[in-house]
Amino acid sequence: MGDADPPLLSVRGLSVAFPGPAGDVLAVEEVSFDVGRGEVVALVGESGSGKTLTGLALARLVPEPGRIAAGTVRFEGVDVGSLGERDLSRLRGGAIGYVFQEPSTALDPVRTIGSELVAVLRRHRGLGRREARAEALSWLRRVALPGAEERLRDLPHRMSGGMRQRAMLALALAGGPRLLVADEPTTALDVTIQAQVLGLLASLREELDLAVLLVTHDLGVVREVAGRALVMYAGHLVEEGPAEDVLAAPAHPYTRGLLASLPSGEDAAPGRRLPALEGSVPEPDARPPGCSFAPRCPDAFARCRTEAPGWYAVPGASGTRRAACFLREGDAP
């Protein structure tokens, strides 16, 4: 790593463990990646792949009884693992903002949007009550919440899903983050609203020079906004590269399977079944030896079932591409 200009976020060997009946179970295992300033990186995977936990672990938000079992997270050069409670709550919602999937449950039903925004602005920006109130209003306008002035005094249940997600975006951005972790930010929304919120996210990102870690299972969303893609399966990163390349020419069979299950122009004839990935992500305590994807992999061979693959460089047009698959062993970079 270049000492002169460390990446905004640097994750090395991150493992998240949960206690199980037969010892610790690793829900996230040996995950390493970087996010640069202003970069949009998608963390892609099915439910249970560990992508959400990876996002939470960045600010030490792994829910009890889980814990970070190994690895380091460096944000702006500072080891997050070494921070005390006070610095940690400055980091959370300050330098790193979070947006969650369900705006209907992620907003406190008995607190108004205005009071929550004011609390964030006072906590992270050191504003006085009056300044914070004015700033809160300007944030609701920036996320284009209709009727911003009245919304300040509204409880979440008086707003639609799209409006709530805008409000949550305002809450996450008001603290002045350099990195926004957006966990399935549009999954709970209608398709039309999804596009609006994604558009808003993209324009605010540019305006604020914000880096975004977009945690999602939706490859369509990845195609639309991400610069780089990380593919995660069963707690491991399996592929990494520029989003365009990964989507155009997936290097890992898992990524290929995910892509194949998306409807595309030619395949989507009426009445024709879409190909689907058979089976589901194995539970963390029931992962097979060798490559975790081997049981579902159409290309698996004997070695995959006994030995876990390391990273192999994948030749590509631009940037670093790599995949954790023995099939890539022969590809010379």
Binding site: L56, A59, L61, P63, E64, S89, R90, L91, R92, G93, G94, G97, Y98, F100, E102, T105, A106, L107, D108, P109, V110, R111, E116, A119, V120, R123, H124, M168, L171, A172, G175
Partner: protein
Amino acid sequence: MRTTPRTRAAPAAALLLLFPLVALLAPLLAHGPSGGPGGLRAPIPWDPGEPDLDARLRPPGADHWLGTDDLGRDVLARLVHGARVSTGVGLLAAALSIAVGALAGALAGVAGGATDRGVLFLVEVVQAFPPLVLVAAGAAFFPPAAATIAVLVAATSWPDSARLVRAQARRLVRAPFVDAARAGGASATRILFRHVLPGALAPALATAPYVLGAAVLTEAGLSFLGLGTPPPAPSWGRALADARESLGSAWWCAAAPAAALFLFVLSARRLGDALSGRGRG
């Protein structure tokens, strides 16, 4: 007819409200010819503490609507002033009990671990003792006063609201909005007071009428035993104790405070039932 909690609560609440109202207005409602505020004539023209040895144990009549006691004091005047003691002790006890219980319960629910086990242990210790023994022992130890009784009643009744609030808090602390608040950098204190307590308080508040009723009864019981609010405060429990001697000849001395206690506790419990959705039909 469909009854909602609100329609069922209304009559009980109205009756219950009568008691603090009478307590507040007691100095206006009943005072002697000289002692009233503003020199107004009271509807009950008797001083609750003024003995009249010529008018002992008079039965209810035109002068003394509910008769007089063994020292010739007007029973109704004492009843009206006694409402101050009972409602005062009851409300203070209920407020203390719920405040302590809610705080302990929410803390246990949010913090979990050793804090949770500690609070649960305390709850079990307090609930394992017969409350009257604890209160009576405390009342014998501390200076007798209405506030002492309220504190002692609260000290034995907080576990109920602590349990209720703890259960809610444990549920709420796992709610996505609490995770989101934590991800926004909210401190543990803020999460406890702003995000968990408001949502966890409702079931504890619904027990307030029960605590109120129990506190009023306990105060009366202690006063009956001579451990309660000291004279000259006209406590209902003391009136009952004083009435023992003359129960055969002057039933009104006992009947009036007994009826007041009965109505107070009954309306409190009816309200509690209505608020917690019990006692339908």
